[in-house]
């Protein structure tokens, strides 16, 4: 039995709840009926109908009040059941039917006032040739005039964060292999030097990138690239073709995210039991073979929830790249604010857009992670029940709750 059907049977079975519960609905209906009618209200021309609806609701409230008083004065035992006219079987049926009518009337009023009111604000705003002064109308007006560039901004933000995260994922895998290598006994001097150099590079990279703000990194990368190309004799227009702000932003977000993802991967790999490595090494596998065949596949599974969180973080943090002029959602919002000078309205819109994007991303990644964490293992036969088809790894709880996101800002 669902929660909803439980609740309905509870209300329907006992007429006192019909009275009390529906009187709350009636009160809401009364409140809506007292609101101003919008131009698109379908009850506009039917004043008499609305008056009848209003009085029906008020009458219902009065009946409920009387029933409640009766109950309070006949509290003991089943006195209410025996004496109250409201408790007679015929009255109960009537009350139930009336409660349906009350709910229908309230629903009609809600649609008339709230939904039609919203639609009428929208249609009015669309017809205006100057920005309306009310909050909602102004948002609708500005969205209507600038949905094209806002859409482009959203697409740029999605492109930056999705491609940036994918590139960063590949780079982070390469970098983490540099980071976690240790010197083995059988290595010769050249290998030892290369391993130490690679590990040192990864450490320095991670420290520098995670220790500086992405805004500064974006500025540095964009202008450094620009300067280099300018020195090579290209004109500003030519540079704009190859080293656009989007490309610079994509490079920045990829390089930035690489450092964070590398640390996440390293954490996942280091969480794998040391015994796994020892067992692989004891069979004669080299350090590299043990890593590739045994440790890394387990480590990356540990890291998947935090890795996918990186996409959510990048969606939000790509907003700082607007400082180099990437045409992302933040930059677009600032531009539109410059036109209409309606800061609160437009930043609310931007916030809602970011919220929708991050929620969609975490939902998709959650589904993806759940699928990955269950590996289908074909099983031929077992004599006792110890073996099961498919193992749910320990990280199956990959719900990416929004409040669990680390790093408010970089």
């Amino acid at each position: 039995m669902t929660r909803l059907s439980k609740l309905t049977s509870f209300i329907v079975d006992d007429h006192r709840y019909v009275l009390l519960g529906t009187s709350v609905v009636a009160a809401i209906g009364v409140w809506f009926s007292m609101q101003r009618r919008s131009p698109m209200s379908f009850l506009r021309g039917a004043y008499a109908v609305e008056v009848a609806m209003y009085w029906l609701l008020v009458a219902w409230l009065a009946v409920s009040a009387v029933a409640l008083v009766w109950k309070l004065t006949h509290w003991e035992g089943d006195a209410y059941e025996r004496t109250s006219p409201f408790a007679r079987p015929a009255a109960r049926t009537a009350e139930r039917l009336c409660s349906y009518a009350v709910c229908a009337v309230t629903a009609a009023l809600v649609v008339d006032r709230a939904a039609m009111g919203f639609l009428s604000v929208v249609s009015q705003s669309l017809a205006q040739d100057k920005n309306p002064s009310d909050f909602l109308g102004s948002i609708v007006y500005m969205l209507d005039k600038s949905y094209g560039i806002i859409g482009r901004g959203v697409l740029t933000t999605v492109g930056l964060s999705v491609f940036g995260t994918l590139i960063a994922f590949v780079l982070a895998i390469l970098l983490v292999f540099l980071r976690i290598q240790t010197i083995d006994r059988s290595d010769n001097d050249a290998v030892r030097f290369l391993k130490a150099a690679g590990c040192g590079f990864a450490k320095v990279y991670s420290t520098v990138v995670r220790g500086t703000p992405m805004m500064v990194q974006g500025m540095l990368i964009y202008f450094a690239g620009f300067g280099l190309l300018r020195n090579s004799g290209m004109s500003v227009t030519e540079i704009g073709m190859v080293w656009s702000t989007f490309v610079a932003g994509l490079v920045t977000i990829s390089l930035n995210s690489t450092a964070y993802m590398m640390e996440v991967l390293r954490g996942g790999i280091e969480a794998v039991d040391l015994g796994q490595t020892e067992a692989a090494r004891s069979l004669g596998l080299s350090q590299w073979q043990a890593m590739i065949k045994v440790v890394f596949p387990q480590g990356i599974k540990n890291a998947i929830p935090a890795l996918s969180n990186e996409l959510v973080v990048n969606i939000k943090d790509s907003s700082v790249l607007s400082v180099i002029g990437v045409f992302d959602l933040m930059f677009v919002t600032k531009t539109v604010v410059g036109i209409y000078f309606k800061q609160v309205e437009l930043y609310v819109v931007a916030a809602l857009c970011y919220l929708c994007l991050t929620m969609a991303a975490s939902w998709l990644l959650g589904r993806f992670a759940r699928r990955l964490s269950v590996e289908p293992a074909p099983l031929l036969s077992t004599s006792d029940g110890t073996a099961t088809v498919g193992t749910v790894s320990s990280m199956s709880s990959t719900e990416l709750s929004l409040d669990a996101q680390r790093k408010g800002g970089r």
Binding site: R185, S186, G275, G284, V294, P297, A377, S381, T386, T391
Partner: protein, 252 residues
């Protein structure tokens, strides 16, 4: 590189082995040897250095000084190709350490195939043979994580055998198991010893040590204080320390 080995000489010989963790000296000048086909059990109190000695014998711990001669090469030498030598030394761990991302069969075939000792078909046939010997053939496709402790340890033994090692090291193979299922692992080790496998076993199972060993080594505070055949070690140990240690087990 590999000098011809004296068939009559010991399979593995440990000389003057020293190992410390920080300032704590765990192994003090250990000398001992294991001949081909011999079963040697190492007994002693916890912290006496038994496991460290065993782990040094395939270089999971790097000794500070000393030599470990195996097939004419010194495992403890700097820059020895340890991977080639480890292929010939099987190791069984207290905590099983089956590869959690693989099923039983892949656990057994991973190393032979990766190290190109065998083709896939040959490796799988060898794995099935060894799994059958430990009584787990029906679990070939089960995920490693789905097995019970005793089953895991038997798979771990089969996995080590798939590399056709000359020497098997057992590091307290039954210490993480329920008393009821210790027997199923010990039986497998019994069979292995009967087939003539050279084995070094660190264990607290004194009955097993007594019945299977050719030689029993008693360690105390990083030193081999006494060694000998199982009969003399368990019935008439020379040193009071050995007697004291064994009395706690033999009372039961």
């Amino acid at each position: 590189m590999s000098a011809p080995i004296n068939a009559a000489g010991p399979l593995i010989r440990v000389e003057n082995l020293r190992k410390s963790f920080g300032s704590h000296l765990v192994l003090r000048d250990i000398d001992f040897a294991v001949n081909r086909g011999e079963v040697v059990t190492i007994i002693g109190a916890s912290g006496s250095g038994k496991s460290t000695l065993l782990r040094c014998m395939n270089l999971l711990e790097t000794p500070d000084s000393g030599h470990i001669w195996f097939h004419g090469e010194d495992l403890a030498a700097d820059r020895v190709n340890i991977n080639r030598l480890r292929e010939r030394i099987g190791m069984v761990f207290q905590s099983f350490n089956l590869f959690n991302n693989k099923n039983v069969l892949d656990n057994c075939t991973l190393a032979p195939i990766t190290l190109k000792k065998m083709g896939r078909d040959e490796a799988e046939a060898e794995a099935r043979r060894n799994l059958e010997a430990v009584g787990l053939l029906e679990f070939v496709n089960a995920p490693a994580t789905s097995l019970s402790g005793g089953q895991k340890q038997r798979v771990a033994i089969a996995r080590a055998l798939c590399m056709k090692p000359d020497l098997m090291l057992f590091d307290e193979p039954t210490s993480a198991l329920d008393p009821e299922i210790v027997g199923e692992v010990l039986n497998v080790m019994h069979d292995l010893a009967a087939e003539g496998m050279t084995m070094v076993v660190v264990t607290h199972e004194m009955a097993f040590a007594k019945s299977v060993s050719d030689k029993v080594v008693f360690m105390d505070q990083g030193v081999i204080t006494e060694q000998g055949g199982p009969q003399e070690m368990f019935t008439s140990p020379r040193l009071p320390r050995t007697r004291e240690f064994l009395s706690r087990y033999l009372e039961d």
